[in-house]
Amino acid sequence: MNLVNLKWSIPRRFLATALMSVLMLSLSAQQGQEVTGLVKDAASGQPVAGVSIQIKGTTSGAITDGRGAFAVRVAAGNTLTVSCIGYLTQEIAVGGQTHIVISLSESAVNMEAVVKIGYGTSTKKEITGAITTIREEDLNRGTFTNAAGLLQGKVAGLNIVNPRGGDPNAQYEMVLRGTNSLTSGSNPLVIVDGVAGVDMRNVNFQDVESFDVLKDGSAAAIYGTRGTNGVIIITTKRARSGVTQVEYDGQLNLQAVTRRATSMTAGEFEYAVRHYSPGNVDKLYGFDTDWFDLITRTPVSHKHTLTISGGSELFSHRTMLNIEQNQGIQKKNDSDKYMFRTNIRQKALKGWLDLDYNAFMNKRKYTPSNDGAFRQAFLRNPTEPVYGAGDERYGGYYPNYAMDYYNPVAMIDERDALREADNIGLSARATLNILPIKGLKWDNMLSFGQESYEGRTYYTKYYPSMLGSGGVASIEHSKDSDYQWESTLNYAGAIGLHRLQALLGYTWEKAFSDGSGMTNTQFDSDVWGTDNIGAGAGWKQGDPTAGINSGKSSHTYIGFFGRAMYNYDERYLASVSVRRDGSSRFGQDQKWGWFPAVSVGWRISREQFMREVRWVDELKLRAGYGVTGNQNFDNYMSLVLFQSKNYWYSDGQWYQGYTPLSNSNPKLRWERKSEWNAGVDFALLKNRLSGSIDYYRRDAKDLLYQYPVSVPPYLVETMWANVATIRNSGVEVALTGIPVQGKEFRWSSTLTFARNANKLVKFANDEFRSANAYPSGSWLPTPMGAYCQRITEGESLGSFYAPVWEGVGADGKDILRGAVAGSVAESKWERAGSAYPDFTLGWSNALTYKKWDLNATMRASIGGKVFNSYRGNYENINFIGQKNILASWLDTPSFTGNAVYSSKYIEDATYFKIDNLQLGYTFAFVPEAMVKKLRLSFSAQNFLTLTGYKGVDPEVALAGLAPGIEEMSYYPRTAVFTFGVNMTF
């Protein structure tokens, strides 16, 4: 943002320098005194480079250098216009001074800001699609398991959930503008520095410079078959020329449990048994064991990042080293990361060639949590001791074993699990600037990415669910590699008021995935763990849990694409793009598809009649239509393939069997989504208030689902077919304002609002029907024993159906509307709302006072339902005895009936969270000092949730076909407190 915005990606610094020399030349001819000056950021006190200093009424001026300094020759009484992207423009009258210090304040909106649009860039004023750009300074603060956390609550319509709470290995779930598929993934396409499909875990979240979220069809259509879920373009911090800059960032954080499923303490348990379940007094063992406490700890994590950048105009680099060690609250649940990333930029051939190299090498070493242990800790009888005499095979643990009743301490202590993932990514981009034609360049990018994974797990012979196995060792390896080539020809030019940007491109990607694994059992000793896997006798003795396996698959994507963007006077804007996309995954005649898009814009504020409307700085209407596809499916689904599966007995021995595992459908084709988007962008009151409002309607058609078919003639009872249609429509609002803009105190605030309505428009055709379609994920096991959701044409996905609960009767049983003998026929169940919220809100605030800064992000989700699994299963006195139940049952002891599925357990998911707060203080030093900057910060995350929901967290996974169901094997929610130090040398 410090750079002058020069269009079409010609290296800006290079042109800026050229421009500056031109200006200097013209200056030398001028009369007047020389004035020198320094431009600083008002908030941080840091020098700002690339600021335009223009003498009002003339074409003369200067641009600040890397240290924020400038020099101009002016006559007394002249006025300087100081402007820079991202800052409010200032005018300064020159009196007699010869040295001026200028503080620039940020503006809420910047119409010149660069926006990444996929295979190119544009500016905010010129774009016609729904694209949200979030820059580093506006991101969430604190610590995150990956970069997705930075965006939570920041982009209207992009719902980001961490369903894994405090797990240091958690991944975020992202859903943009609703669920658009019945079976495929919902994650947006992530592009990191031009490379598609990069795992976000490979980006140090502190390295992110900006996110550009391509939301609507017209913006995402350039990514064809991968555009349906939206596109998130991540730009990491790039190499910069100038003196060598060294930056150190350190974080130390602590976590505390905020929400979890709480079962009875030993005292409560004994009370409940004696009073309400006296038949179970033999299950009181007389001890007081806090199982949750025994398997958890107070996690302490730390993270260190060192960044070095600098170089000349011709050769510069930025290199980052990161080390972090994270702990989860479950014992042994760790995650260590080691990251290295470098970006090198080079110019060659007298301006003809720009080179940009990126390389990263990451190692993640981690121990996944044993989620089952949290559930067992919940269920375990609190009056039972951890250890106790028993026969040898229990290994000293209290010998109380039953189905699904395991000692959680043994589950932690008798398991060793270590995962190691090594990632490398290399990419090189060569841009050939065809200088004779201004604005024409040919860009080629090659990239290679690979993840090598090793998983080792050892369960000792005392691991509760594996007694008798004599120890189980397993080692898994996998390697995923990905090759991409992208070639684009870009032209940008202007004739008079006509401006054109055109693109022609080709992209090719091939990915391979292979893996192998081995498992062995029956070890004489636990001493080896997985390090001597051949020593186990199980494999040789034919134990079927022991064995070896391997597999491999690959797929290819190819795309041809073109785009033309035209505008007249930056007033009338239009963009047309088309992509021809192919994927190996589809049927022989269905491999290729067309994905067109068109969008237009009208900047009303540029019209003559708006000139007089002073309070409107910007007003733009946008409308677009685009078609995208989805190919988040398994490979080989259209082929008849025989897999080795099971064995049969013949000639006195066992032989391998071969069979197709599914019905092949050679007609499988793309899921196609077409989307209309209309929006308005505005900036008012000298840019103090700005925002966007978008309305969209997206119809995703030919959605794949497994439909029932007749056997025979088919082999298995279901078959994949493209039948269904889902419509999502909604409104998104983003408002940014600067309510307070003082000399020392400044408050800027952004509010986002999103409402999405989902509807399954079509689910059947003449050939494929499904009488009772229940999402398989909505099955609630015993004691609920019901599908809590249905797939119904004309309704929203995620619709709960249940018997209506009307209270607890005098007999202690649930009263269910229309019940006959305690149960309600399924046909009489009623719709009990949808898992999707009515709307979501995000509110981000940045406050600065002198050298203090405070950032706070709050999120709210209004409406929506969530199934409370723990209540359904365990808020019931009938289950007390061997196992523990929810402590909250004691609040309603009048309920003594059986656990019966009903609307009782479908609760309102409305919540308000303050999940991101950071207070920082920046020390500024004189430019000559070794330390240029020091910033200290304190962050608090996820520390406050206001909700009526009685379960662990109303914010549950909303992707997929069975949203809004709380996981039984969950990870507790934690608040994270982070101390940070950032130093620049």
Partner: protein
């Protein structure tokens, strides 16, 4: 201008380099072409139709359905609250609902088997490649398909008829008369090409002996199914098995149910199981898990927690002659002992318990548990490896001999050819009973004999229907308003094929 060539140059590079290639590379599976060109793979591939048989007697299977619908098994809710789902009680009380899970899984077992055979027949034929024994493999597939259809017709009567794998149109529904003729013809057309002998090589395969037994079962039920008396043909079919000299009645009843009993020559058509090779949830031999509880698990050195669900239905238990050693060889009841041989205090199983247990739940000591198939205590089982090495006899020589006697009785012929047969009487004598005299060998006696001999082997429902005892009252089951001799066609399968009409009792 040279720049105008750049796009075409780019295009040439792209197209010339073959960069529009989207063919799929397959690595870990076998494509159709690879399979059909490899003789070894092709002969091994036919095994998939046999592999389907492994699903026959798992927890929620056709076997479970037939067992529970007959009078030999009860699965009330147990003392720990498990087995509380109403689905077992519904079947026991002949409240057959089209959406019932077992009715679907039972149907699927049969029709998937048909589809498997169709596929193997098509692929093996389409391959055009000869391999050793191809004609026999094809014949086995025809007769195995006849078996799957036999089971489907037994349960549902009117079934979808589809025998051409390449014809993906919705199958027509055919009635029992049509299917009877089809099954009969498929067997008689192909029987000569099957293995004629009963050796370790042919164990588990559809041999001539198995095919004749299947035919005997078909003919024996002809009067009930299609109203035609084919008892003479049943007699002939049984004689074919007897006269082949390939089968003998084992010395001990238990010999049929031991772990790894490949050498038992009483087996006519067994489903082989293996601790190692058939170990997943849907194809392992886990009958013991269904019935035993933790105390029994200790006794039999089983390192996992059995599910404590299936028990002997009390009326059925009382059918046994007090002298019949098969009762104690089949059921665990009375005082129970631990592995060391000491009596477990308070653990005395009551095999005859009252019939309100589907409502009130079953105490741990209610109901005899099964131990007919010997429990594997060689240490190979672990807590997560539940399948045993026993084999399950679909057809057993004792069954053939009892069918032979029945075919004589039903024709009004003298039963001397049966009672005079040493092997026939051995069925009685090895159970500690006196041989049948000709006068004692009545149909009623034969039904009881079949019950005791073939308990939980899956044929009781068919027997009760054929012997006219189906719609009588028994433990926890009243006389029903309709006969329900056929199961309803499962809802999910009915809905995908408009050609199917629901069976009459369920309209």
């Amino acid at each position: 201008m040279k720049t105008k060539y750049i796009p075409s140059l780019l295009l040439a590079v792209v197209l010339g380099a073959g960069c529009t290639d989207l063919s799929e590379d397959v690595y870990s599976q076998i494509g159709f072409d690879q399979l059909t060109q490899d003789e070894h793979l092709l002969s091994s591939y036919s095994g998939k139709a046999y592999i389907r048989l492994q699903e026959y007697c798992t927890e929620q299977s056709l076997w479970t359905l037939n067992l529970q619908a007959a009078d030999e098994c009860a699965v009330p809710k147990n003392s720990t609250g498990s087995w509380a789902e109403p689905r077992y009680g519904e079947i026991q009380q002949h409240n057959f609902v089209p959406s019932h899970k077992f009715i679907r899984t039972g149907w699927d077992f049969c029709l998937r088997g048909v589809s498997d055979c169709n596929e193997v027949l098509y692929v093996t034929d389409a391959a055009g490649k000869d391999f050793e024994g191809k004609a026999r493999v094809m014949a086995e597939m025809h007769v195995l398909r006849a078996f799957y259809y036999f089971m489907a017709v037994d349960g549902w009567g009117n079934v979808p008829f589809s025998i051409d794998f390449t014809d993906k149109s919705l199958p027509e529904q055919k009635d029992r008369a049509f299917m009877f003729a089809f099954i009969e013809k498929e067997i008689t057309d192909n029987i000569d090409k099957l293995y004629p002998d009963n050796t370790s090589k042919t164990y588990g395969r559809m041999t001539q002996g198995a095919a004749w037994t299947l035919l005997a079962k078909l003919y024996l039920n002809a009067l009930e199914w299609i109203g035609t008396d084919r008892f003479a043909d049943a007699e002939t079919a049984c004689r074919k098995v007897i006269d082949s000299g390939q089968y003998v009645i084992a010395d001990r009843y238990k010999d049929n149910f031991e772990v790894g009993n490949q050498s038992c020559r009483e087996m006519v058509f067994p489903i082989p199981f293996s601790t190692t090779y058939t170990a997943s949830d849907h194809n392992a031999f886990i009958i013991y898990i269904l019935t035993l509880d933790a105390v029994n698990a200790e006794k039999f050195n089983i390192p996992t927690e059995p599910w404590n669900g299936f028990v002997c239905q009390p009326d059925f238990f009382q059918l046994y002659d007090p002298a019949d050693t098969r009762c104690a060889d089949t059921w665990l009841y009375g005082q129970q002992y631990d592995r060391a041989g000491a009596a477990v205090a308070g653990y005395v199983i009551d095999p005859v318990f009252v019939d309100n247990k589907y409502v009130d739940g079953r105490a741990q000591t209610d109901g005899a548990k099964l131990w007919k198939w010997s429990y594997q205590d060689d240490g190979k089982l672990t807590s997560d490896q539940a399948g045993m090495d026993n084999h399950f006899a679909l057809f057993r020589y004792a069954d053939v001999l009892l069918m032979y006697a029945e075919s004589l009785l039903r024709q009004g012929k003298a039963v001397a050819p049966a009672t005079g047969m040493a092997d026939f009487q051995k069925i009685r004598t090895r159970a500690g009973l006196v041989p049948f005299t000709d006068a004692q060998l009545t149909l009623d006696a034969l039904l009881d004999e079949r019950g005791a001999e073939l308990a939980w082997e899956g044929w009781r429902r068919q027997d009760l229907i054929r012997f006219g005892k189906w719609n009588t009252a028994w433990w926890a089951k009243p006389v029903t308003a309709k006969d329900y001799k056929l199961y309803p066609i499962p809802t999910e399968r009915l809905s995908v094929n408009p050609n199917l009409d629901q069976n009459p009792d369920y309209k």
